[in-house]
């Protein structure tokens, strides 16, 4: 997994609450059996005027110029600013894959949906929760300033503006450790294989029906 320490970049403002994972990456792209290539289809239904199909060349598709992502000032964004309950709905990991394939490294919102929040960490993306008032302030600043940039610093748990203002955020210790080092969860867990086996043996005695042979 890609490690995350600090990112400075252009901020893409998605100014609506309850953005669901269907909106982040529509269902037709879930048919892929691979992890990459979803970037051009990030927010597909909002970004283009036609209906997207998996595997197509997106460079010739008609753009919805009214959608923020298509405005020149937000090109190359690596930080996404969002409202409440971002990433709700389907558990599809294609959502963080699409964000990350597009180049987004960090997300800032007052709240995220649980499964999406989890999925971000598994893919080297950092979701940052900041108070609603701060997010509101950042939205105003982004909209007022073309090519507005922020720094998201995981080591010091801070979001910093270019004029030196900073906002600290909470992050779970274990997740921080994995993200900073780019560690793969499975390898870390397998270090506890003996514990899992011991547990399993106890359960097998107490609730043998769980371990029955499938018919």
């Amino acid at each position: 997994m890609q490690a995350f320490t600090q990112v400075t970049g252009v901020v893409l403002p998605i100014d609506r609450s309850n953005v669901d994972t269907d909106a982040i990456i529509p269902k037709q792209f879930l048919k892929s059996i691979h992890r990459s290539g979803f970037g051009p289809h990030l927010f597909d239904a909002w970004r283009y005027l036609d209906e997207g199909q998996p595997g197509q060349d997106c460079s010739k598709r008609p753009l919805n110029t009214g959608f923020v992502m298509n405005q020149p000032r937000y090109q190359g964004a690596s930080i996404l600013l969002a409202r409440d309950n971002f990433g709700c709905g389907s558990s599809r990991e294609h959502a963080p894959w699409a964000l990350s394939d597009y180049g987004i490294r960090a997300l800032i919102a007052p709240s995220f949906a649980d499964i999406f929040f989890n999925n971000c960490f598994k893919n080297g993306l950092l979701p940052v929760v900041l108070p609603e008032a701060v997010v509101d302030k950042l939205f105003k600043a982004v909209l007022a300033t073309p090519h507005y940039q922020l720094t998201v610093d995981l080591t010091n748990q801070q979001v910093r503006t270019s004029d030196g203002e900073s906002f600290s955020f909470e992050v779970d210790g274990f997740r921080k450790y994995c993200l900073l080092n780019g560690f793969d969860d499975i390898a870390l867990t397998l270090r506890h294989a003996e514990d899992i086996k011991t547990y399993e043996a106890q359960r097998q005695l107490a609730e043998p029906w769980i371990f029955g042979v499938n018919r």
């Binding site: 599809r92 999925n119 779970d172 969860d185 514990d195």
Partner: protein, 468 residues
């Protein structure tokens, strides 16, 4: 001993180890797998040359891409590849799979319980957010992402943190024509789609206890739409009766031993929840969503709310955007909204009881002339067979419905069943998001009975006037 909640009991029983910061390794008893969220997990395993930790914990089926019309091979090559990939992976790893064509195949959240693969006291995961469904069995059931699917395959555990607990108590008797689906929508309308974020919800109260297992599954299925990763209902006689004799359920002596344990899977008297919400069953009416989030819901006899009356600017904007997308004006009576299509199915409402309740409304009637298509899609091959045995298929067909093969169908439009842009659907599924049932589609979530009533009337209508 301190009284504990059902959630805490399930959690404690599955902790393999816990770090000082509360991060825990949770043992997973049952892993359900489908074609959409598993290929990248299998690929990851193969690349790392890791074996499956416990093959018999896994039960797999294809559901999202499967056509519901009779097709020997799937016409869409991309869908076919995904389904073929699942078949190949299951064969290679010796995983029990109900592939397309197997009479037990169906929507993963329908077949797990139907087979007894979901049992009380289990931890159940699946790469699908509606895994919360299985909590109806007093199981700790959670939707997970593909990386977690791979993690569970390789380690039989999930890295997790204890959730906060919420109890939603619904007391009283549900009026005729008001179903578990309406209860679910009422709860979401009350607490909001993010109201349950960070919580595991236990549904309790006399109205919940009087629900069948099918009804409890409908309710827990929608827990995720309230933001909660897990929803659950305590074990009682209804639970045990349902599980008895199912293919994967224990038998004989083991059965008795299991039942003894399962009976302890209730929240103790006096257990404290982080949050309590109460609803009065008597006051719940048949509900219809009007917007693009399940929380945008009103009673069938109400009108579409006016965004101008909403004080919070972000909410107001959300309402305005939803009404624009849905092409509906504020103030319009819900019962005057006409529909183009009807979908009865999905992991929320495709079980036998759902089909029976819709058929009760449809019996001897015909769908309205303006309804272009009405689909009845059983949740599994076994549900379909049971319904046919009861003659429900005939009622549906005579009313003008198409009677289809099991699958996710029009719930999300990954297969051939979908709405065209601008089409309006009365749907028994769980999500009314923009484009969910096809690009530009307009979804109104309702119960199976309300969907049947709308099919007959050609517009939403109060089902209570149609049933005795």
């Amino acid at each position: 001993m301190k009284p504990t909640t059902l959630y805490e009991k399930l959690w404690r029983a599955h902790v393999v180890r816990e770090e000082a910061d509360g991060t825990a390794l949770i043992y997973i008893d049952r892993h359900l797998v489908h074609e959409v969220t598993s290929p990248q997990a299998f690929e990851g395993l193969k690349l790392a040359k890791r074996p499956l930790w416990r093959v018999n914990s896994i039960l797999a089926t294809a559901d999202h891409n499967t056509p519901t019309t009779h097709q020997e091979v799937i016409a869409d090559p991309v869908s076919r590849l995904q389904v073929d990939t699942l078949d190949k992976n299951c064969a290679e790893y010796h995983i029990t799979e109900f592939p397309m064509g197997d009479h037990r195949q169906g929507i993963v959240h329908v077949i797990g319980p139907e087979q007894g693969a979901t049992l009380p006291g289990m931890t159940v995961v699946c790469g699908d957010s509606h895994t919360s469904t299985h909590g109806a069995f007093a199981a700790l059931a959670m939707g997970i992402g593909t990386s977690e699917v791979e993690h569970v395959m390789a380690t039989q555990t999930l890295i997790s943190k204890r959730a906060k607990t919420m109890r939603v108590v619904v007391d009283g008797v549900l009026p005729k024509g008001v179903t578990a689906k309406d209860v679910a929508l009422a709860i979401i309308g009350h607490i909001g789609t993010a109201g349950g974020t960070g919580y595991a919800i236990e549904f309790a109260g006399s109205a919940i206890r009087s629900l069948s297992m099918e009804g409890r599954m409908t309710l827990c299925n929608m827990a995720i739409e309230a933001g909660a990763r897990a929803g659950m209902v305590a074990v009682d006689e209804t639970t045990i009766e349902y599980v008895k004799g199912r293919p994967f359920a224990p038998q004989g002596e083991l059965w008795d031993k299991a039942v003894n344990y399962w009976r302890t899977l209730v929240s103790d008297e006096g257990a404290v929840f982080d949050k309590e919400v109460t609803l009065n069953a008597v006051a719940i009416e048949p509900l219809v969503t009007w917007g693009t989030s399940p929380e945008m819901v009103v009673s069938i006899n109400d009108c579409i709310p006016d965004p101008q009356l909403e004080k919070d600017p972000i909410r107001r904007e959300g309402m305005e955007r939803a009404l624009k997308y849905m092409d509906l004006p504020a103030g319009k009576p819900m019962s005057s909204i006409s529909i183009d299509k009807v979908f009865i199915g999905s992991c929320t409402n495709s079980r036998i009881e759902d089909l029976r309740s819709a058929a009760e409304v449809l019996k001897g009637k015909k769908i309205a002339a303006n309804v272009k298509l009405a689909l009845a899609v059983p949740g599994s091959g076994l549900v379909k067979a049971q319904a046919e045995q009861e003659g429900l298929d005939v009622i549906f067909k005579e009313a003008g419905f198409e009677w289809r093969n099991p699958g996710c169908s029009m719930c999300l439009g990954m297969n051939d069943d979908r709405l065209s842009a601008g089409e309006r659907c009365a749907s028994t599924s769980n999500r009314n998001f923009e484009g969910r049932q096809g690009a530009g589609s307009r979804t109104h979530l309702v119960s199976p009975q309300m969907a049947a009533a709308a099919a007959i009337a050609g517009h939403f209508t109060d089902v209570r006037a149609l049933i005795k």
